[in-house]
Symmetry: C2
């Protein structure tokens, strides 16, 4: 029997109507009562487009309150929000729009111009365009069935084809509960959101907000000075960051320290260099390393405060409702990381085969490698096969290679990550050209048309041949070594 | 797809092995690691009796750590704990043992003598008897399927026949989550348990303990001085009480106040007189009034700290995952209270008809009467039809009447609650006798053989006839008026 709860925003607006739900850096605030009213009105306006229960609707927006309202509005209708990365190209967006069977894409006003010229295959409507529509009579959801689908977020994969990860309301609920059981629930909490809401790490902050009755300090984009000020002067107690953000914050902090009320710097999105963690520790920053992915609805393994200091470098233990195992040949050795729990996706939209191959007896095979120490703490040694993580964004080499092989003069291509002080890693390409009529800038220019900027190779090396194994498969590990010589 | 989580005690022992799980008033403590080990050993010993997955096992015990270990042990086996009220007579116990299809009853050493002479219909084993058994090889549960049955607790009802309320693991989980979302989760929390563990209000503290990683301060029985000392000097931050306990605590406190770290006096088990609440408020005691019943796995409506002061007398709002409605004819009027949520029982064991009649479209009809004020706060005006609540224990007049009518010289009988300064209410009986050969003490003596002491009428009035309505049904409301004249 699927569990049923009251609609979480309606409920929070009933319990704590005057509590602040969203605080903007310009000082503007929205209460839970207002957030509910605005979301319900927006839902009734959306009904003009025929958006109804089960409709898939794209949401392509920078971080702002209208985006949050749109997502809640879609949940009031019972429609599914498909969150789109704002850095994707026309080609990438078109693929996801078709693959996810979207009916319409909603976008923020600031992106209007650049999106409209893309000529996407479905209608695109801006938030303010919708706000001017009349409210239609429509039945809004009063309850949430936890098994129902709430969001779809695309992630690439080893195959190079992005896949839509399905998140039910239950996945998000359990993720929020797992986090609360790990770091506690304090009535003074305020969580800063600078991560993109189109990523599950950013989105999850707004779900926690509604379930906990907690204000979110909303930033359109990350700025270390603004974040530091928010911690120092605006009562922010928790911040979600990726490595590059933590580095900037640590550098900016200098000899200062955050107030004692600041209790969690949740670090996700890829491995963090040990020296940075040591530096943060020296400055008494309560960094919570974590491990997760779109498929796990954000963090699933987190280092708790009890162990933050003596287990530096570890991602911690699985959250209370979650389980973890390493598929290894012997004790304490490295193997593939498997996870299980009610925050783990049920699979990929319309991708039965990919879903089946991702799960084994209810356990998700993450493709990442790691080991457990003798006390059961997870150390991630390598992310998904060849995955490049650049500033918290995932880049799958196969996806970039697939695009670059579309260039007429390119015979073969191999993409790999190169260490980068700012971004952690950046992608670089090794190309075997058919003739010498193609240059590095040609490759980059071409890539810009088809790939989000962060996926575009920062360097292109022309080589005579690529390293391949006996079965003629590209050996990317060898390419990684070549980089060190370039 | 039923949700699966790791076994909660195993998980907590992994996350916080050295954290204290149970603190006894004599200073003895048990860590989560030890609690797990002891429970698993106890499970393997229990296997000697053939207790296995799905077996129903009675637990008849005063509050002590062995009882908690036994309940966890049964969950490791996958067996169901049927919690028995220690004040029941042989007849009452026998009824529940047969009705719940128990295989064996476990009891604490201090009850051994009085239980053994009862000659109950199934074997009775004491905790220490079991502890001397060898450990059998047996598969222990590593996961919890939330839809599985964890406990059964009997409650009487308007029909007079006690019914076994089924609690799944999920019911208990959601109850714990609902409470955490209401009062927060603080790593310094310590919850005092003086309520009987055989009641869901007492049991729920130990489930929260395992899920939150929170110590419980365990008391065998309530003593206001010990409770006050625990709050003042032992770091207790939360206490669950019923009205009579709160009254004693308030009286004892005098002009003192509790430390600021004390953050919740959770008040359940029936209506509280307004003067007592005012007194508690004047002494800055953070009383959280609540409303719940066995069927809702403890509190389901609770007054949050935000409103504790300005909504005195209200039971508050339904917990985050719960819903409430009043079945009334017009706005703001009194009607039957209906509740819904994932902490609500799925029904009564082997009582299909009673289950069906208790639910309407997924909503539990509580039988209690109440109204909502204009802000949606619940005020309970009358508990289940004719229910007598005495010191937090529920007494159904029909059950007492049914026993008393077994006396040969009794022709008719009506039972009703009489106001009592100490217990809130006590039961009294109106009897129409066949002849004058029977006295008040005869009736009480007979009752003592068949009824738990708290259910035995404290006074017996002999009358010529009972007030009945046109369809010859007893009008208990009229009896209540008669009391005022006696």
């Amino acid at each position: 029997m699927p569990e049923v709860i009251p609609h979480w925003l309606t409920k929070q607006a009933d319990i704590a109507p005057d509590q602040i739900a969203i605080e903007h850096i310009n000082g503007k605030t929205i209460t839970f009562s207002k957030l509910k009213t605005n979301s319900q009105q927006f839902a009734k306006k959306l009904a003009n487009y025929g958006v109804g229960k089960g409709t898939h609707v794209g949401v392509l927006s920078t971080n702002n309150a209208s985006m949050v309202i749109a997502i809640h509005a879609l949940s009031y209708i019972g429609a599914v929000s498909v969150l789109l990365n704002t850095r994707l190209t026309k080609e990438e967006l078109t693929y996801q729009i078709n693959d996810a069977e979207m009916m319409v894409v909603l976008t923020c006003d600031s992106l209007e111009k650049e999106v409209m010229v893309m000529d996407l295959p479905v209608p695109v409507k801006t938030f303010s365009e919708i706000s001017h529509l009349p409210e239609m009579e429509t039945d809004l959801q009063t309850e949430i069935i936890l098994d129902d689908v709430f969001t779809i977020i695309y992630t690439s994969g080893t195959t190079g084809f992005p896949k839509g990860v399905i998140h039910t309301y239950g996945n998000h609920w359990w993720s929020a509960m797992g986090s609360a059981l790990n770091i506690g629930l304090d009535s003074n909490d305020k969580w800063l959101a600078a991560l993109p809401i189109f990523h599950v790490s950013g989105l999850s902050i707004f779900i926690k907000s509604v379930i906990y009755g907690m204000p979110v300090y909303l930033m359109e984009k990350f700025d270390q000075q603004v974040v530091q000020d928010a911690i120092m002067e605006r009562g922010v107690t928790m911040v979600s960051v990726v490595t590059v953000m933590l580095k900037r914050l640590v550098d900016l902090l200098g000899n200062n320290t955050y107030p004692d009320t600041f209790r969690c710097m949740l670090l996700g999105g890829g491995p963090a260099p040990r020296p940075l963690l040591e530096k943060a520790k020296a400055k008494h920053i309560p960094v919570f390393q974590s491990y997760g992915m779109t498929e796990t609805s954000s963090q699933i393994v987190t280092l708790s405060p009890l162990n933050a200091l003596n287990k530096i470098g570890s991602a911690g233990k699985p959250l209370f409702p979650a389980q973890l195992k390493i598929d290894h040949t012997k004790e304490d050795s490295v193997g593939e990381i498997f996870v299980k729990g009610p925050m783990v996706t049920r699979g990929y939209f319309n991708k039965k085969e990919a879903t089946n191959s991702a799960f084994q007896n209810g356990w998700l095979a993450t493709g990442d490698l790691g080991y457990l120490d003798h006390e059961g703490f997870l150390y991630v040694v390598d992310r998904r096969k060849d995955l490049i993580i650049s500033g918290g964004e995932n880049i799958y080499p196969s996806e970039v290679e697939s695009v670059l092989s579309g260039i007429e003069q390119v015979s073969e291509v191999g993409v790999v990550g190169k260490a980068d002080e700012t971004w952690g890693q950046v992608p670089v390409a090794f190309v075997v050209a058919i003739d010498q009529t193609i240059s590095e800038s040609d490759v980059i220019k071409y890539s810009n048309n088809y790939l989000a900027k962060y996926k575009v190779p920062k360097q292109v090396f022309f080589v005579d041949k690529l390293p391949r194994n006996a079965s003629n498969k590209l050996v990317r590990g060898e390419l990684a070594k070549w980089i060190q010589n370039n």
